[in-house]
Symmetry: C2
Subunit: 164 residues, 2 copies
């Protein structure tokens, strides 16, 4: 399709594919983060967010459905980069007292990527008059924001524990 014919709806679909792919990568990386974490609280938080991520993927599939499209991902370099950095931290700081702080920082980078993408998609869904899609995407946006707040709190605790 030539540039001129590509409108907001197509941009919406491209971004939907991007976050669909990203969520699947995140689903795979969360158990690894949980396994590497050194406290129960952190492991629980990651596994709970893993379950939430499954629900978020289902919601994205429903958004595709409202558009009469099959759910399809599209390779997303941004999330691949963020996940790669998180693996680096887990390797480099294995056994270090700062490991949990490092994992949490990576997890927050992931959350912020998602918050920006879902924020954008909600704006566009509303503009396109896609009520049901907008609602589904808003639900996930609110969950991601809550997760970010929880991770911030765990991050404070992790650095305080290291200092103790």
């Amino acid at each position: 399709m030539a540039g001129k014919e590509r409108g907001l709806e197509e941009l919406f679909v491209e971004t939907l594919k991007d976050i669909y792919y990203a969520e699947k990568q995140i689903l795979r990386s969360l158990p690894k983060m949980a396994k590497a974490a050194t406290t129960e609280a952190l492991r629980d938080a990651f596994m709970k967010h893993r379950d939430e991520t499954e629900m978020q993927i289902e919601r994205l599939e429903r958004v595709f459905e409202t558009m009469g499209k099959a759910a399809r991902g599209k390779s997303c370099q941004a999330i691949l980069g963020i996940v790669e950095e998180s693996q680096e931290v887990m390797e480099d700081f294995k056994g270090s007292a700062a490991l949990d702080a490092g994992i949490l920082a990576s997890a927050q980078a992931v959350e912020h990527y998602e918050i920006s993408r879902y924020g954008t998609l909600v704006t566009w869904a509303n503009q396109l008059g896609m009520k049901d899609a907008g609602k589904l995407l808003s639900q996930t946006l609110e969950e991601e924001k809550k997760t970010d707040v929880l991770l911030s709190r765990l991050a404070e605790q992790a650095v305080n524990r290291q200092a103790a």
Copy 2:
């Protein structure tokens, strides 16, 4: 250095190098985004943020200085991925009425990456008792949050304009 000896201070320095590299990539990408944008308001916003980014790089250099270290970047896959996606959007939607919306979405992904990194660095600087560093990083964090709010407003306007 083996894992066990690597503590929070080293994690802080690694993350500082990551965002220092990221800011330099952003400094190069903002004029490209400004050039691609189709409205004066958007071009101005990107060029203003380019100037702000220069200041933010200087602040990072001062943080390195407070630690008696030379400022050095470290390749950051996350920002490279985000910038690559923004270039893709600029190519794919060139000439489209949705181009500005796409550029703005990319810019917000950049802002959110920065917000997560600076948020983390501020927490760690405070924990490490690095008062001056914490202050410098907080200043930038506040600027990035303000930029994100401004971009959200411009994004609403861009999609409304397309609909008009």
